[in-house]
């Protein structure tokens, strides 16, 4: 069975790197992107099962990336440090699997990724 492919998208390198390490340690196959455009490039190269993405990023925010992903839609977990109610509503309307506020307990994130992967697997 192919390992679940996870894409971590966050403009904060510290956040991005630690999250990649945590998910890899949990057994996922993880890639990362530093902004929305890079994330869309990654998608064009490889389909991902689960995306863990910050809502607020330079150039292109997480909600617009979510709307522009081509191909089979992944399960997306949106992270936010300071999202407004409107952004949260838009994220949920764009079929985000979950929205989680930073900082979050790591086990909680792992449970969310696991749940998203199971749902993607169908």
């Amino acid at each position: 069975m192919m390992p679940t492919r996870v894409l971590v998208v966050d403009d904060e390198s510290g956040m991005r790197d630690t999250l990649v390490e945590i998910l890899e340690a949990a057994g996922y196959r993880v890639s990362s992107a530093g902004d929305g455009d890079a994330a869309l490039d990654r998608f064009r190269e490889t389909p991902y099962d689960v995306v863990v993405m910050d809502i607020r990023m330079p150039k292109r925010d997480g909600v617009s990336v979510l709307k522009e992903i081509d191909g089979p839609p992944p399960e997306v977990i949106m992270m936010t440090a300071y999202a407004l109610d409107e952004q949260l509503r838009q994220a949920l309307e764009a079929r985000a699997y979950a929205v989680v506020h930073k900082p979050f307990p790591v086990p909680h994130m792992l449970r969310l990724v696991e749940g998203a992967a199971l749902r993607k697997a169908g």
Partner: protein, 534 residues
């Protein structure tokens, strides 16, 4: 404006009262003064009429005396001739004449010398208790007596002596006094008067000589004078049947008093009316002024509130910006701590484990401060999902592990239903209550977290055995920026309350100083159709 007499007339009762009092005094004074003048005039008129009446009576009695003196003088010239005496006295005989004689006095009476009328004859003895014959003989000229009773009549005597009688004799006449009331018509002389003439100097009913009324003695506003008759003083009293000054003059005091009272009433009424109008206007002005002041105060308050809100908003903006910026590094630290713990694994010694727990707890505390600040500055509506509270409590305890000196006890039931809530926000509530419990037990103690299932809700009790709160602190526990702790900004419980209430739940606290505090949160359970977002 509701205008009432009680509140509308301010100080307005005094002036009308003073005016009425002055009016009454003026009317009374004027009335009494005028009445005194009228009475004085009445007295003077009565006195004048009394003197005139007395003059008339005196004139009549003088005529009687002159007649007696003329007859006596003629009898003296005739030396007491019976024929001459009888002829002389003939014109004097009237119905009331009882005796007319020439008498010779001796001591206490006398003997009849010549009798012209009466049932006496010469030689008969005449009694004379008052000694009038002796007085007349001694040169009294004309002497009359008072009335004396001679049943069934009352009689009076008149005596004339020398030089109006023969030598050694007196002319003696005795008449009957009927005492009948002689009423005078108003058109007769002195018809306006009632009068009584006494043959004495005092009002003795047995001595009434002449009277015009049955109401004797006369009383109240009576005129009086004396008439000298034959060495005796006759009292004459009079009383006006109607006021001598006339009815108009009599009523003048009352008319004047009435006019003054009428003027007083009119003026007082006008003054009162004008004062009421003025008071009404002043009340209106006061009311409007009060309203204006109130509006100004409200305006000032609103302005202050606006300034305060603007200031709070500015602070909120800064707190929000700083909080947002802190959330990313806090996330990185959380992740890093997780990785360190995972990498060290079972190799961690006790010291490292304790230090990691401390780092976790402090990161959780910092995270909580940031979350509370953000939540307080800009409240976020909950994103409702199904939340397993047993799991969330465990997660919260792992995020904020208990200090070494605090023991944590959990009481829960299996298969508790999920509650309908925002997981992140409910975690924030639990972390606030848990860290509050930790900080309330600086000397150690037990933190008990209990889950109690209810019909349509779940109750979570977080109790500590710490220092507790007094009643005053309890009353303000959920108030923003109220804190008795050395640490924190004092918004944790206020934010917790707001989050719970935004979930349709309740939060309560009970506490006893020295015994600890219990927070009880009640949240509605998720229905079977509730959206499950995560």
């Amino acid at each position: 404006m509701a205008y009432t007499e009680g509140t509308g007339v301010r100080g307005g009762r005094l002036l009308p009262a003073v005016m009425v009092t002055i009016g009454l005094l003026l009317a009374g004074g004027l009335g009494l003064g005028t009445r005194g003048m009228v009475q004085d005039q009445e007295r003077r008129l009565l006195h004048e009429r009394t003197m005139e009446a007395a003059l008339a009576v005196n004139s009549s009695l003088t005529s009687f005396r002159s007649t007696l003196q003329s007859v006596g003088a003629a009898a003296a010239v005739s030396r007491g001739s019976p024929a001459v005496f009888t002829a002389l006295t003939k014109p004097m005989l009237r119905n009331n004449v009882r005796q007319i004689v020439l008498a010779r006095p001796d001591g206490n009476g006398g003997f009849v010398a010549v009798a012209a009328a009466g049932d006496v004859k010469p030689g008969d003895r005449l009694s004379d208790p008052e000694g009038s014959m002796r007085k007349a003989l001694a040169g009294g000229g004309f002497v009359v007596t008072g009335l004396f009773s001679d049943p069934p009549e009352r009689h009076a005597r008149a005596v004339v002596g020398a030089p109006y009688a023969p030598q050694g004799m007196v002319l003696y006449e005795e008449v009957a006094i009927t005492g009948r009331v002689t009423k005078l018509a108003s058109d007769q002389p002195f018809g306006e008067l009632d009068f009584v003439v006494y043959t004495a100097s005092h009002p003795d009913a047995s001595q009434i000589l002449m009277v015009s009324t049955t109401h004797t003695p006369l009383r109240s506003h009576v005129g009086a004078t004396f008439i000298d008759v034959g060495g005796k003083k006759f009292l004459m009293t009079t009383k006006a049947k109607h006021p001598l000054v006339g009815p108009l003059a009599t009523d003048t005091p009352w008319i004047l008093a009435g006019v003054v009272l009428l003027i007083t009433a009119v003026v007082t009424g006008m003054v009162t009316m004008f004062r009421r109008r003025r008071d009404y206007a002043m009340d209106l002005v006061e009311e409007r002024t009060a309203e204006l002041r109130e509006s100004l105060a409200e305006l000032e308050q609103t302005q202050e509130q606006l300034v305060r809100q603007e200031r709070l908003a500015a602070i909120g903006e800064i707190a929000s910006a700083v909080g947002h910026e802190l959330r990313n590094p806090l996330s990185v630290i959380t992740n890093a701590l997780y990785l360190i713990r995972k990498n060290v694994g079972d190799h961690a010694d006790e010291r490292l484990t304790r230090n990691l727990s401390t780092a976790d707890r402090e990161v959780a505390a910092a995270t909580l401060i940031v979350s509370d600040l953000l939540e307080f500055a800009r409240a976020r509506m909950p994103i409702i999902g199904a939340v397993d509270m047993t799991d969330l409590i465990a997660e919260s305890l792992s995020v904020a592990p208990a200090p070494d000196h605090v023991r944590v006890e959990r009481q829960y039931h299996d298969h508790l239903p999920d509650v309908a809530g925002d997981r992140d926000q409910l975690r924030q509530v639990l972390l606030n209550l848990i860290t509050n419990g930790y900080e309330a037990m600086p000397e150690g103690g037990t933190l008990t977290i209990e889950e109690v299932p209810l019909a349509d809700a779940q109750r979570i009790r977080v109790s500590d055995t710490g220092i507790g709160m007094d009643a005053e602190t309890m009353a303000r526990a959920f108030e923003p920026f109220f804190s008795k702790k050395a640490r924190g900004v004092g918004i944790g419980l206020a934010v917790a309350k707001r989050i719970v209430e935004n979930h349709g739940g309740t939060i309560e606290a009970t506490s006893h100083p020295g015994q600890g505090t219990t927070f009880t949160v009640t949240l509605p359970v998720a229905s079977s159709t509730a959206e499950v977002a995560r």
